[in-house]
Every structure is written in C-alpha cells, then in structure tokens.
C-alpha cells in the first residue's frame, strides 16, 4: 500500500473574531511550477537555494508598462535601471525590447557598453562620476545627468580639453507632497537652484542641455506625486524655451513605480492598494500634455522604472532546514535563504509559498534565515503551512535589487537561472566557488605558515 504524505501534526486554538497581527491573508496555495518547469526539478538540477527568472514575465510586464504610456503620449522611451538587476542576460532582454540603459556608476556604465548599448543611449545618473567616467561618457555622447555644481564644473573643464560639447541634463528635486522629500540628489525646484543650474549651463554654452530629470522617490504609493513632478519639469522646459529659444529634447521621470509587494507594516496587501501602470501613465502624460509646451514639439518622455518591471519575474526557491519552538511557544521555521540573498526582506513582507500541495492548516510562524545573526529574519509573522525539514518553498516577486544588493556572507552565492522563451532553463550566473573568493585575497609571506 502506498503511504500517505506526512504533514507535521498540528493543533491550533480557535479564537472567535480575533484578527491577529498575523493577518488574514495566507499562502497555502502552492507554487509547483514556474513557466511550466516543476519547482522540484529546478531545485534538484540547480541546487537550493536558487534564483529563477522568467523571461516571459519580463517581456510581458515591459510591454504592458510601455503600452500604458504609448497609448497616452506620442514619444516614449524606457531606460533600464541597471542597479535594479544588472545581470547581463536580464539587461539584454530589456535592450532587445528597446530599452536604453540607465546607470549610476562607472561599473554600471562599462557593463552597459559591454552589453552593446550605444553610448548615446546610456543615461548616466548618480552623485559619484569620476573624471575618468565623465571623459568616457563625453566621448561616447552619453546623456550625463548632473547631480551637483561640482560635477557641472568638472564637465565644463573636461569639455574644454576634449573639444566635444557634452550632452547633459540636470536632475531636479522638488516637493511633490510626498515625505520624506528626496532633496539630496540634484537641484531643488522650489528654492531656485534648478533655475540657477539651468542659467549657468545656458550662459556657458559649453554644454548642450538636452534634458530634465527627476526621480521623486521609490515605491510611490500615489500617482498624483508624478503629476505634480511632471508638471514642474514641463514648466521648466517651457521656461527654457521662452528664455533661451532652446527646446528641451526629453523629460525623464525616473523610476519609483511600486511593484505589487507589500511594504512592512502596511495594513493592506500591496496588490490591493497600489496604482497601476495606467494610473501612473495617466498622471504623467496628462501633466505634460496640459502644460504650456507646444504640442507639435513635445519632448520625449523617458522612464527609468526598475522594480515595477522586474520584481514579478524573479523567484527565490529554497528548502526548510528545521522547525523550532521559541521560548514563548511560538513557531519558528529556519530556511536556507537569509537576508544575504533576500535583501528586500528589510522592506517587504515577501510572499512565501509551499512548493507542493499542503493541507489547509496554517501556523503562525516566524521565518528565519540560516545566517546565525539576529537580523536574519525573512518574515516576522506569517500564517504558514506546516512545512517540515527538507520541504521546498517559493518566495515570489524578488526580481528587483536582490541580485545586485546580495551579500557574500558566510557562504557563496547560488545559481541564477533564466527560464527562456524557448522553454529551456539557462544558467545566467553560476554558483560561486571558493576560488572566486580566494583569488581576490593575498597572504603575506610571514603568514604562510601557521
């Protein structure tokens, strides 16, 4: 006789009408397959834990996000935010779809070039661009987004030597009614700094002011903030046209559209409360179209969305190491995925699903990673099925930031695989080896013998 699958024995006290901090939403529905590939097979073939990225989901999301804007505004250009996920295979999917590159460091800049992106289609953001970085960007006609006056004068000095006229934009920060206000990047709109920067560039004539940029924050919960921001940039663009007779080629609204993850401490799940691409697109497009700008000569609208485009395409698969009871009687489950691999668990209450069917019984659980550190908590409180040692689970919506902000702490980083449109599984970043780490180290002669 075939034996029945075993589930940990479990008893739960019933409390009438008492919603607990564990919330009502549960994750008992298993995720057994990703793009038709069994989760068990992925773990078996590529080890546990393993990151899985769906090419299909990336392309679908991208098309949806693009469609939301192109149906409302005539000239739309996306630029892939490298910091969100700069694995080459991922970047190239976005570039194949038509995205430019948006980079914030010399390292990311070089990666975009290696990925075959044309220099003139790289947007270079960020407060730290070295002279070497700037020289390269000027040489390649890249779009340099100036963050502060020190940078502006470095670019002017470099342009004098190179004989080229660098293409620049200024980053503008502003009050959009959202707090905290991101005023540490770029030039402020309300206090006149933005105009000051524009005037200096226009009078100097060494730089070609082609764009205006803002990134008002990240995980923006209201589309209205974008409406205010786009209106302010359009006003600046109109002012430049009137004052100098120069038309700004593009308005870059940055990133910050929310993905469907739930922020820590949020009362409702993210998927119920967040604006859609259509709502963001409506807010931004209408603000520019309703501005004073000449409708026959509108600037290109650039978008640098990161998390909203890639979060859904990423999964992190892992295995239960042990179950424990804490001193207060609460349940704890220890898994082989820690905050080293899931940096975003500091911000999000990530959804964790069993990888095989389970009973409807859920236990209030804390999910800990394996790091031997107190901060290593994936979920403080989740109503979770009765998984036991060796059972597999799937963490959903982890495509953004985890594969760039991960830490090599007490262990090596695992495989990252892509499920291609061809239905095949491709390793796009190999599991690290001891050699990868020790190759970078050197032991002085007097320490050779121990």
């Amino acid at each position: 006789m075939e034996k029945k699958p075993f589930e940990r024995p479990y008893i739960k006290k019933l409390q009438a009408g008492m919603p607990s901090k564990f919330g009502m939403k549960s994750q008992a529905e298993p995720i057994t397959h990703i793009d038709n590939i069994p989760v068990s097979e992925l773990l078996n073939d590529y080890g546990s834990p393993v990151y899985v990225i769906s090419e299909k989901t990336i392309r679908e999301k991208y098309k949806k996000a693009r469609h939301a804007f192109t149906t409302r505004y005539p000239k739309v250009q996306y630029a892939w935010s490298y910091k969100t996920n700069y694995l080459d295979a991922v970047c190239r999917i976005f570039h194949q779809e038509g995205s430019w590159a948006e980079v914030v460091s010399g390292f990311e800049y070089d990666k975009a070039i290696l990925n075959g992106v044309k220099g003139s289609q790289i947007i270079f953001n960020g407060p730290d661009k070295t002279d070497e970085d700037l020289k390269k960007a000027i040489e390649n006609d890249s779009l340099i987004h100036i963050d502060h006056f020190d940078e502006m004068y470095s670019i002017i000095a470099l342009s004098e030597k190179s004989g080229k006229r660098p293409k620049v934009a200024i980053r503008v920060n502003m009050d959009t009614g959202v707090y905290p206000m991101w005023d540490r990047f770029g030039f402020n709109y309300e206090n006149g700094d933005a105009w000051d920067a524009i005037n200096r560039i226009m009078i100097n004539e060494k730089l070609d002011l082609v764009g205006l940029h803002t990134h008002i924050g990240t995980y923006m919960l209201t589309s209205n903030a974008y409406k205010i921001a786009a209106g302010k940039l359009a006003d600046l663009a109109y002012g430049i046209e009137r004052k100098y007779g120069v038309s700004i080629k593009y308005i870059d609204m940055g990133g910050g559209f929310a993905s469907q993850n739930t922020l820590k401490g949020a009362y409702y799940p993210g998927s119920d409360t967040l604006p859609s691409f259509d709502e963001y697109a409506e807010a931004i497009s209408s603000a520019i179209l309703n501005s004073e700008l000449n409708p026959r000569n509108l600037p290109i609208l650039i978008l640098e969305s990161g998390r909203a485009l890639i979060d859904d395409a990423g999964y992190l698969l892992g295995t239960v190491i042990a179950n424990k009871r804490l001193s207060n009687g609460n349940r704890a489950t220890i898994v082989d995925v820690g905050v080293n691999l899931l940096f975003t668990s500091f911000w999000y209450e990530h959804e964790v699903y069993p990888a095989a069917p389970v009973s409807e019984h859920l236990e209030e659980t804390t999910i800990y990673g394996p790091l031997c550190m107190n901060i290593d908590v994936l979920r403080e409180a989740i109503a979770f099925p009765l998984l036991k040692k060796g059972d597999h689970f799937v963490i959903k919506r982890i495509g953004a930031y985890n594969m760039t902000q991960w830490m090599q702490f007490i262990t090596l980083r695992p495989n990252v695989v892509l499920i291609g449109l061809d239905g095949q599984v491709h390793i796009i970043r190999k599991q690290e080896s001891m050699d990868n780490i020790t190759e970078q180290e050197a032991v002085p002669v007097h320490l050779k013998e121990i």
């Binding site: 699958p5 075993f6 024995p9 008893i11 739960k12 006290k13 009871r325 019984h361």
Partner: protein, 84 residues
Amino acid sequence: MRLKKNIAVSDTGFVFNPTTGDSFSINQVGQEIIRLLKEEKSVEEVKSNITSVYEIDASSFEKYYFDFLSMLRQFELLDEEDEH
C-alpha cells in the same frame, strides 16, 4: 501520557475542552495521534502506527511527536498525573 478524559474530539478534526471552553482545530496527522492517545497507546505504538501509514521515518516522526505533545501540554489537554 494521556489525553484528559473529558476532551471531546469530533470526526471533522475539532477538539473541545469542556473545562476551559476552548476549542481547537487539528490537522490529519494530529487527529490520528489524538485518537491513539485516547486509546492510551504507548509512544512506540503511536510511532509504529503512524510510520506504517505515512511517509516518514521513525526518528523524524519522534521529533514531531514530542513537539506535538508539548503543544497539547501548553493547551492543557494532557493528563499529567500518571507521569510521576
């Protein structure tokens, strides 16, 4: 180790403690263990019973079994007297 005598168990997996008025839901393996405890089976008997029906080895089961007993104890469903 015995279940308190007055504990009522329904076929659908609900447990009621008339002394405290508490009620509980239990999953399938839990129900079977409760049934065996009602029949005053020993640890060894519970073990061999469960491992013959379910896909689990004896030593893994033992760990989950003792954990389950500690939950029953926490909810005051066990008769501890004859332990001494």
